[in-house]
């Protein structure tokens, strides 16, 4: 599909900015493993301290990269499937809000005024521009949804009997989830935190802030994951040389995500006070519900790959795995996607452990957690983002991939790195190794009284994995920027692989319209979260004053608000 110069430039910037910032994000990832293994015993390195680096790593990799990509990919899928471009001014307004917001937050983090990590839990306080920047980034990313929904509604009126393309359902479901869940974090940031950070409000209800954040925070991971799922259902079978086993299964999965992505956030707060056990257990149950679409997807994709393998002549029960285009440089997108799936096997299964009530006590806030989420967000999400960014850019710009044979092995190197890295973290976590901690200063410093020798092999594994991952990322940057600076070879165009469905069921209205699902989604959210917000607002005692990471004395003078004086 030929697209306008405006859309081309928009997509270039929306892919290019986060990938450029990713260099900083990856650098800090590597530094984490170096500090934590006790290679250095310092609080900072090259003028950037550990927790500042950790904040940059989380915000850039998990918020900026993912949001910009989701928007760009959304533009691409809507434009490609409906042959209509998103409204120009809407798309550019969204871009500028996101970019200005990112720059504000980046300044605050790089200036050392926002070392609060990407969860920014109060009463730790960041510079107001960090909060404002985050709010702008999020609001900017909402805006395209309205243009896309408008295009969809028009298309549906003109084509009432045609099934909505699966990729479009993926994009619209994804951004509906995003819009709903970000309302809570926007409220947290703009109403609870920003006035408090500016000194206009003396205290903040920490539990309420956390509950609002996690209303957003769990659905966030589905916002990350659903573009990848869209690629798995609509592109992977074609790339493998086969067909999608069941189109309906894809629709059911996506609508189940719409239902269950949001009303489960309290499973991140199992160890929090002031939230009754009943609410925690109910949301834990709903979390098991959100596991179901992933299992459906695992089977459907395996069946699709089996079809592809058997078509190429594979024999035996699992022989089909051997007949797939793993190392074909012309099908590099297959490599990026399949490697994400390999990692997601472990990432998804460990996620179910985390959601399981009492089992959470074994792993919460230990290194097991980053072990888990690097096999999800740094697995299928990251690989699909960088793979598709390369694919979209090179297609639209009409350029050939730079070093194609290097490109196709990058995902495999990444998988090896992550598996070693997460093995170390998971093992360490089960032995009590904490996350979000500069271990090198104390626990991994042989001269320190807190030295914990059990964590030496685990942090060493994480370091090895981290080095391999960094090397893979470096190769990716060379390939991507090499492609970007290479000469245009042909007319650019927006093209996406489109898989044919093996079982292409007729249009079933229930799985082709949003209204009934939106209603159920709303009901579940109310059932799950009204009691949670009520408890978080009423159970806690006094609100907290502001603290900066370097000082136990609160920012507000003690006489005004501190509980010492009550």
């Amino acid at each position: 599909m030929q697209i306008s110069k405006s859309l081309k430039r928009l997509i270039y910037w929306e892919l290019g900015i986060p990938l450029t910032l990713l260099t900083i994000g990856i650098y800090h990832g590597l530094m984490q493993t170096i500090y934590r293994a006790g290679v250095i015993h310092q609080s900072s390195f090259a003028h950037l301290d550990y927790y500042q680096g950790l904040t940059l790593h989380g915000v850039i990799n998990a918020v900026v990269l993912t949001s910009f990509f989701a928007v760009a990919f959304g533009h691409a899928t809507i434009a490609f499937y409906f042959k209509r471009e998103p409204h120009k001014w809407v798309a550019w307004l969204s871009f500028w809000l996101m970019t200005v917001g990112t720059l504000m937050a980046a300044w605050a983090m790089l200036a050392g005024k926002a070392s609060v990590l990407y969860t920014f839990y109060p009463p730790l306080k960041a510079h107001p521009l960090f909060y404002l920047g985050a709010a702008l980034l999020i609001v900017g990313s909402w805006i395209p949804l309205f243009s896309w929904a408008n295009i969809y509604v028009k298309w549906k009126k003109e084509n009432p009997l045609v099934k909505t393309p699966l990729a479009v359902i993926g994009t619209l479901v994804n951004f509906t989830i995003w819009f709903v869940c970000t309302l809570a974090v926007a409220y947290e940031v703009l109403v609870l935190l920003l006035p408090w950070a500016m000194g206009w409000k003396a205290t903040v209800n920490v539990t309420l802030a956390r509950t609002l954040f996690w209303f957003f925070g769990h659905a966030l991971v589905y916002f990350w994951l659903l573009p990848a799922y869209t690629m798995y259902y609509t592109m992977l079978p074609k790339l493998a040389g086969g067909k999608l086993f069941s189109d309906l299964a894809g629709r059911i999965s996506l609508f189940l995500f719409l239902l269950f992505s949001v009303p489960v956030g309290v499973h991140h707060q199992f160890s929090d006070p002031s939230i009754p056990r009943g609410i925690k257990m109910f949301q834990g149950l709903l979390t098991f519900g959100v596991a179901i679409p992933s299992f459906i997807t695992a089977f459907t994709l395996a069946a699709s790959l089996e079809y592809a393998g058997k078509k190429r002549g594979s024999k035996g029960l699992l022989g089909f795995f051997g007949k797939l285009p793993y190392l074909d440089p012309n099908k590099y997108l297959f490599a990026y996607l399949i490697c994400g799936l390999i990692l997601f096997i472990f990432g998804g299964l460990t996620g179910i452990v985390n959601a399981s009530g009492q089992l959470n006590a074994v792993v919460h806030n230990t290194a097991w957690l980053p072990g888990h989420f690097h096999m999800t967000v740094a697995g299928p999400v990251f690989l699909s983002i960088i793979g598709m960014s390369l694919y979209l850019y090179s297609g639209i710009a009409g350029k050939k991939i730079f070093l194609p044979r290097v490109n196709v092995i990058i995902p495999y190197l990444w998988v090896i790195g992550i598996l070693i890295f997460s093995a170390g973290l998971s093992w360490g976590g089960l032995m009590g190794e904490p996350r979000r901690t500069n271990l090198g200063m104390s626990y991994l410093n042989p001269k320190n009284e807190l030295f914990t020798p059990e964590w030496v092999p685990t942090t060493m594994l994480a370091l090895c994995g981290g080095i391999i991952m960094t090397f893979a990322a470096l190769l990716f940057f060379i390939v991507f920027f090499g492609t970007m600076f290479s000469k245009k070879m042909q007319t650019g165009s927006l093209d996406l692989p489109v898989s044919e469905a093996l079982h292409d069921e007729r249009q079933i209205l229930l799985f082709d319209r949003f209204k009934p699902w939106l209603v159920i989604m709303g009901i579940l959210i109310l059932l799950a979260y009204v009691p949670a917000f009520y408890s978080a607002s009423n159970n806690p005692g006094p609100g907290a004053p502001a603290f900066t990471p370097d000082n136990p004395v609160p920012v507000q003078p003690a006489s005004q608000s501190n509980i010492y004086n009550q």
């Binding site: 086993f245 459906i296 009492q358 005692g541 000082n551």
Partner: protein, 149 residues
């Protein structure tokens, strides 16, 4: 709907139900999710109270960057109730060798019960980022053989 897909959904549901059943079956007072208590500023005073030979109450206060009390001594076989809060930012309280994993939050009281059936030193580690001194925040429970008492 494809018959295979239908069977897959049923199998998934069965496995998840097995997990849910296992969780409910194993639920007891010593491994349950933390209890939520109404706020009371009395819990801000770090304290170890011996209710009887094998029953203790600890008011644990987390702050930047230490736990108070930093050392708790109990005889083996004791049951200890921890009442946890924070004087400042969010801290974590993790006793890895027992199933104790709680957040200490300003203005909130968190409670859990632990039974120490084996003698030894149990480390209490802060596992939520709480500022520049976070990596030095560790306390301990020393569980002594009964002969000491």
């Amino acid at each position: 709907m494809d018959p295979y897909e239908r069977k897959i959904i049923l199998i998934t549901g069965a496995v998840l139900s097995l997990f849910i059943f296992s969780i409910l079956y194993a639920r007891n007072r010593n491994n349950d999710l933390p209890e939520c208590l109404p706020y009371n500023k009395a819990y801000l005073e770090p304290k170890i109270t011996r209710l009887d030979e094998k029953t203790y109450q600890v008011y644990m206060v987390a702050q930047m960057w230490q736990f108070q009390p930093a050392q708790i001594e109990v005889p083996v076989g004791s049951e200890v109730d921890f009442f946890v809060t924070s004087k400042d930012v969010v801290h974590g309280l993790h006793i890895n060798d027992k199933d104790v994993n709680m957040m200490a939050i300003y203005g909130n009281i968190n409670k859990t019960t632990v039974k120490f059936e084996k003698a030894g030193i149990y480390k209490i580690t802060c596992h939520e980022y709480c500022g520049i001194g976070h990596q030095s925040m560790q306390a301990e429970v020393i569980v002594n053989e009964s002969s000491k008492y």
